[in-house]
């Protein structure tokens, strides 16, 4: 059966799928960012069970059945599916990481991380969009892909990107789309976005087929669907090379153990689904898992945690030399906490992001230090990650 999305794209005359070589610097490499919005409690995800401060300060929040990683750290059982990754050295963990932001607003913290600045609201476009601008985007190809109903700030900006989400409505006829495109000619925002939409739909139709993306799912099924589609699109020959996806539900002010027990497996499922689709290029793939900040070391009054500072980041994939922790552990003893409440960060999140961008996109330190993360020359990439 003819794919209606493909038909629509070509008949509308807006899209010509290119058969060109990939951008210099990217090659076959893939890079995925999973943003955990709401602030993941790093101490719960990767508890430092070898640190006596953990039991002393937060015994009610230490997960039962944590899986040992090394002498100090263990993995929350909700992430058990990632233990084989650690053992296969495909997972590295940064245990005490934070952006330069030291206040505790979710929204400012996310904005600062995503715009690559060193203070809130310094820029509006995303660091990842600026990173794509440094590459030669092949004519007609979109190297960036936002999975979800909107494009996250980190991918917003002048460089056009694709987006994908499960199809909920029957596609419009190609002739209608062509007329809409003509009607939008004097409206730069709508016409540009429509052209991107047709292009993305065509790409998705080609790669995912008519029904793979149909309908919205919920819970684990939704995560598998979304991450699986992202993996398929990234694996495609003329497809994107960089993708972003969000997982919500980390703002655990109350009843944290139960809530993390539900959402941590979603993260693991997403990563497993990505890997399954990216098998042919897994050795060239890196997945970065990040969050806006950590949470208080001590439980609050409701067996949850409030907004904190240091949290964890994950670097995963075949392109990562894993099976180890990256950066120092600051400790949870008296005097070691940040402001006597949070994990003290020892690694700047931009160092993690720079590592990923340098390795996977081949970006120079000049562009990373000046344009992608302005004023960050003092923040060096992590050594020997890959």
């Amino acid at each position: 059966m003819l794919n209606r999305r493909t038909l629509m794209g070509s008949a509308a005359g807006l899209v010509a799928l290119p058969q060109v070589s990939f951008a210099q610097g990217v090659g076959e490499r893939r890079l995925v960012f999973i943003f955990l919005r709401g602030a993941l409690d790093g101490l719960a995800a990767v508890p430092p069970v070898g640190d006596p401060g953990l039991q002393r300060l937060r015994s009610s929040l230490v997960p039962d059945g944590a899986l040992p990683l090394d002498a100090t750290f263990a993995l929350h059982p909700g992430l058990a599916a990632l233990l084989p990754w650690w053992q296969a050295r495909e997972l590295a963990i940064v245990p005490a990481v934070a952006s330069p932001y030291r206040d505790r607003s979710h929204f400012d913290a996310q904005h600062l991380i995503e715009t690559g600045g060193d203070r809130p609201r310094a820029a509006e476009d995303g660091f990842l969009n600026r990173a794509l601008a440094e590459l030669q985007q092949p004519q007609g190809q979109r190297l960036g892909l936002a999975v979800g109903s909107s494009v996250p700030t980190m991918l917003r900006g002048a460089t056009p990107v694709a987006s994908w989400e499960p199809q909920v409505l029957p596609p419009a006829e190609p002739g209608l789309i062509a007329m809409v495109a003509r009607m939008y000619a004097a409206d730069p925002l709508l016409s540009r976005t429509l052209a991107e939409g047709v292009r993305a739909a065509t790409m998705a139709g080609d790669v995912l087929g008519e029904t793979a993306g149909a309908g919205q799912q919920r819970g684990v099924a939704a995560v598998r669907q979304i991450a699986g589609a992202a993996g398929k699109l990234l694996a495609a020959q003329a497809g994107p090379r960089v993708a972003t996806l969000d997982i919500d539900g980390w703002d655990t002010h109350t009843n944290q153990p139960n809530r993390l027990g539900l959402v941590l497996p979603l993260l693991a499922e997403a990563m497993v689904a990505l890997k399954a689709e990216l098998t042919p290029v897994w050795r060239q793939t890196m997945v970065v898992v990040l969050t806006e900040f950590g949470r208080t070391v001590r439980p609050n009054g409701t067996n949850g945690t409030d907004h904190g500072t240091g949290s964890v980041a994950f670097l995963a994939g075949g392109a990562v030399r894993g099976g180890r922790m990256l950066g120092d552990w600051p400790g949870l003893q008296d005097g070691q906490l940040f402001e006597n409440r949070d994990v003290r960060p020892t690694v700047d999140l931009r160092a993690v992001l720079k590592t990923a961008l340098a390795q996977q996109l081949g970006l120079s330190s000049a562009s990373l230090d000046q344009r992608i993360f302005p004023g960050s020359a003092a923040v060096r990439p992590l050594q020997a990650v890959v």
């Binding site: 987006s163 939008y184 925002l189 429509l194 993305a200």
Partner: protein, 437 residues
């Protein structure tokens, strides 16, 4: 004519057929009258508070029963509330009052991402927002912060003063979630000049505000409990509030409501909502000044905003979020009760289910939040599906009755030259005039 279209689009929820001609030349007079209306009160389904109390009990004891009550009792109330709200948006004559309700409801976001509050989010808007959209900001602030939906959404109902009777007995402590969001999102704004110790000061003041249990009488209503209230004086923004029990909160919120940072924060959000994604500084200054002069009289604030020349200078600068796009289409086409029944599914499909924003910051209010490639395709596809189901008349005539001379030549051409009546309507629904405002 252009000003009339601008007024109904920019301040309302889109024109009804013939409305623009009726407004005629005096668009500003029409808008002033619309902003002088009484509070847009609304009746909704009863019983949400009681269901909330039941769910709060089950949340700690019986997950299966909780899910059952959620499906059988909470969900129908929520769906009825979503439908009632959309009906009000469609039926409102001017749309101006309902648009304000949407704005303030989003400013004081409560969200069913915390499932427990699904039976009370509609009541929240009806009880805490609607009575005050033409009233005083301080009153809306107090009503919103102390509403059961907010107390549960931002966890205040379980926050306990560490030195209170209950705190000492159970060794429990504060939860600072609501205190932080009141400062950051509801009043001063994130750069409004507060510190972590102010967050804790307000969180202490907020202790004691909780929810009546099933056995308490008026289950699910707000209650102030001395046993969980942190005793002693508290400090907020350098001011000391002596121990005053439940009176502390009203005093603290009144002070926050008249703080210059709050005026600036609210003025910026209103200007972004009604004028442009990048709010012009002159309008923000003017609106903030009026907010301070009138002690947060929201009708006066809106009249000042509406009188700003910048408002009338540019046509179509903003994009309608999906909820308002759906409302506008229903207003245009006079879609009846059958269509209303499909509203919850439609909003879910657009990822903008009423009272279900992903975070307490609420829905984004710029084009970039809503016009992503896939999202725009979906908007066009939705219009196409509507056009296939609605037996329209003549879209060429409809376009004129909606937008008159303000209709862009490209839209006029598309609607006039479509290959069928269905395509003509689908194009009208996809047009910048309908998608933007």
């Amino acid at each position: 004519m252009r000003d009339a279209v601008l007024a109904v689009e920019r301040f309302g929820l889109g024109p009804k057929p013939g409305q623009v001609a009726k407004i005629g030349r005096d668009a500003r007079g029409w808008l002033t009258t619309a902003l002088s209306a009484p509070a847009p009160t609304l009746a909704g389904p009863d019983g949400g508070a009681k269901v909330l109390a039941t769910m709060l009990r089950l949340a700690n004891s019986d997950a299966e029963a909780l899910a059952r009550v959620g499906r059988a009792e909470a969900r129908p109330i929520f769906v009825a509330d979503v439908t009632v709200r959309m009906r009000a948006a469609v039926q409102s004559d001017t749309g101006v009052d309902e648009r304000l309700v949407h704005f303030w409801s989003n400013h004081f976001t409560v969200s069913t991402t915390k499932r427990l509050i699904a039976p009370t989010v509609g009541a929240f808007e009806r009880e805490a927002i609607r009575p005050h959209v033409f009233g005083r900001f301080a009153d809306m602030l107090f009503a919103a912060v102390t509403h059961p939906a907010m107390l549960v959404y931002l966890d205040n109902f379980v926050s306990i003063g560490p030195d209170s009777l209950a705190g000492r007995r159970r060794g429990r402590a504060l939860n600072e979630n609501l205190g932080r969001e009141v400062l950051e999102l509801h009043t001063l704004g994130v750069s409004g000049g507060y510190t972590q110790s102010d967050v804790q000061g307000l969180a202490q003041i907020l202790t004691g505000w909780g929810i009546r249990r099933e056995e308490d009488g008026s289950p699910g209503a707000t209650v102030f409990r001395d046993v969980t209230h942190q005793p002693g004086s508290k400090t907020l923004l350098g001011k000391t509030y002596g121990e005053g029990g439940e009176a502390e909160l009203k005093a603290a919120l009144s002070d926050l409501a008249r703080h210059p940072s709050t005026a600036r924060h609210i003025a910026t959000k209103l200007t972004r909502h009604y004028v442009a994604d990048q709010p012009p500084a002159a309008v923000v200054d003017r609106v903030a000044r009026r907010f301070l002069e009138t002690d947060g009289d929201l009708r006066q604030v809106m009249l000042t905003l509406a009188a700003s020349p910048e408002v009338w200078a540019t046509a179509w600068p903003k994009v309608k979020p999906p909820h308002d796009l759906v409302a506008a289409i229903m207003r245009m086409l006079d879609l009846g009760e059958t269509a209303l029944g499909r509203i919850p599914a439609v909003l879910q499909g657009f990822d903008q289910m009423t009272w279900s924003a992903r975070s307490p910051a609420g829905w984004g209010d710029t084009a970039a939040d809503w016009i992503a490639p896939e999202a725009l395709m979906k908007r066009i596809e939705f219009g196409d599906q509507v056009a296939r189901r609605v037996p329209v008349q003549d879209s060429r005539d409809l376009a004129t009755r909606l937008f008159g001379e303000a209709l862009a030549p490209a839209t006029r051409f598309a609607v006039d030259h479509a290959e069928s009546a269905t395509a003509s309507l689908a194009l009208l629904l996809a047009s910048p005039e309908v998608q933007r405002r």
